[in-house]
C-alpha cells in the first residue's frame, strides 16, 4: 500500500509501540486518507476559474497536495470550488450540484464575487453563495492568486485532519 509508519504517525493521535504495531483510531486513518485525496468539483464561472486552471497546471501543480483529480461529476467529488460570480439564474444549478455531491463534502468559496458579490452589487448577482450553501473556506482576492487557492485546499485538509465536521453537516449534528 505504500503506507509507512511515518505516514500513520503524522495522522494526529497515532502512537507507535515497539516493533511494527501501531495503535490509532479508525476515524484518524479515514480522515488521513480523505485529506490527502480530495477530489474537487470545479464550478468556474469567471476569471477566478482561470486562476483555478493555473493552479491545476504544471507551474503550481495542485497534485503536489493530492487534489488534482478534478471530476466534472458531482457524484464523484468531495470538494466544491465555487470560482466566479454566481447569478440568480445560476444559483439553483450550483445548489443542485452541491446537493448531488456525496457526504462528507467541503466547499471553497473562491474570490470576492463568490464570497460576497464583489464589485457586482446588482440585481442579478448573488451576494455571497453562503446564503444558500454552506462554505468551509473563503478566499479573498479578485481574482486570488493560485497560491491562495492552494492555501485554501491546505486549510480544508487541516480541517479534515482535525476531525472537524464539514460546514454542511454541522446543522445535522446539532439536532
Amino acid at each position: 500500500m505504500g503506507l509507512t509508519n511515518t505516514d500513520i504517525q503524522s495522522a494526529q493521535g497515532a502512537e507507535q509501540t515497539d516493533g511494527n504495531i501501531i495503535t490509532t483510531t479508525i476515524d484518524k486513518v479515514i480522515n488521513w486518507g480523505r485529506k490527502n485525496s480530495l477530489w474537487p468539483m470545479p464550478f468556474g464561472t469567471a476569471c477566478c476559474a482561470i486562476e483555478m486552471m493555473a493552479t491545476l497546471a504544471s507551474k503550481f501543480d495542485l497534485s503536489r497536495f493530492g487534489s488534482e483529480a478534478i471530476r466534472f461529476s458531482p457524484r464523484q467529488s468531495d470538494l466544491l470550488i465555487v470560482s466566479g460570480r454566481i447569478s440568480i439564474k445560476m444559483m439553483p444549478v450550483l445548489k443542485r450540484i452541491y446537493d448531488q455531491m456525496p457526504d462528507p463534502k467541503w466547499v471553497i468559496s473562491m474570490g470576492a464575487c463568490a464570497s460576497c458579490g464583489g464589485v457586482f452589487d446588482t440585481y442579478t448577482l448573488i451576494q455571497g453563495v453562503d446564503q444558500f450553501i454552506p462554505v468551509d473556506v473563503y478566499i479573498p482576492g479578485c481574482p486570488p492568486r493560485p497560491e491562495d487557492l492552494i492555501d485554501a485546499v491546505l486549510q480544508v485538509q487541516q480541517k479534515i485532519a482535525s476531525g472537524a465536521s464539514p460546514k454542511g453537516v454541522e446543522h445535522l449534528l446539532e439536532t
Binding site: 440568480i88 444559483m91 439553483p92 440585481y123 442579478t124 446564503q131
Partner: protein, 182 residues
C-alpha cells in the same frame, strides 16, 4: 491597404444618396459619425429600409452585427429630437463588400413598445432580439420565439430600463429552488 481605404470613403456618400433616393419618406434624420452612417428611420418602414440595405447589390449590408436599444428617458436632449420617444432600437450593419458600417435607429414610444422583427432577413437576429426584449421590454412583432434569454423565465420587469433599480427588487434574495429545478 490603401485600396481598402478608398472603398470605405466611396461608400459613405453612396449609402446616403441611395437612402435619400429610395427611402426619403422613411428617414427622420441621417448623419455621419466617425465613418459610420447613422440613419434614424420611422418604425413603420424599418423593415423595408433594412431589407433594402441588405439586398441592394451596390450596398450589400449583409452582416447584422448587433441589435440593441437605448432608454433615453433621462436624456432630455435626445428625447426632444424625436417626439419624446423613450426608446431607440439600434441596428448595427456591416457590408463586407463596401467595408463600411451603417447604424439604423428607430424611435419607439413607451405606449407602443413594438418593432417588426428582422429574423426574416437575418436568422442571427433571433437571440439579439430576445436579449433586447429581455433587457428593455421591446416587443419584436413576428419573432418566432420571443422569450427571455438572460434573466430567469419568471423574472419580472426589464432591468436595463432606467427606472429599474440597480440592486433589483429583491430577486437575488428570494427565489424558489424547487420550482426552478423542476
Amino acid at each position: 491597404m490603401n485600396e481598402e481605404k478608398e472603398v470605405e470613403e466611396q461608400s459613405i456618400p453612396l449609402v446616403l444618396e441611395k437612402l435619400e433616393e429610395h427611402h426619403a419618406d422613411a428617414l427622420l434624420s441621417q448623419d455621419e459619425m466617425r465613418g459610420t452612417i447613422v440613419a434614424v428611420v420611422r418604425k413603420e418602414q424599418v423593415y423595408a429600409v433594412l431589407e433594402y440595405l441588405k439586398t441592394d447589390p451596390e450596398l450589400a449590408y449583409t452582416f447584422l452585427v448587433d441589435v440593441t436599444a437605448v432608454d433615453n428617458s433621462q436624456m432630455e436632449s435626445e428625447l426632444m429630437q424625436f417626439d419624446y420617444a423613450r426608446f431607440m432600437v439600434v441596428y448595427q450593419l456591416y457590408s463586407y463588400q463596401g467595408q463600411c458600417r451603417v447604424r439604423v435607429k428607430v424611435p419607439v414610444h413607451e405606449n407602443d413598445l413594438s418593432v417588426p422583427s428582422v429574423t426574416g432577413l437575418w436568422r442571427g437576429a433571433n437571440w439579439l432580439e430576445r436579449e433586447t426584449y429581455d433587457m428593455f421590454g421591446i416587443n419584436f412583432e413576428g419573432h418566432p420565439d420571443l422569450r427571455r434569454i438572460l434573466t430567469p423565465d419568471d423574472f419580472q420587469g426589464h432591468p436595463l430600463q432606467k427606472d429599474y433599480p440597480l440592486r433589483g427588487r429583491g430577486e437575488r434574495e428570494s427565489f424558489n429552488f424547487d420550482k426552478q429545478n423542476a
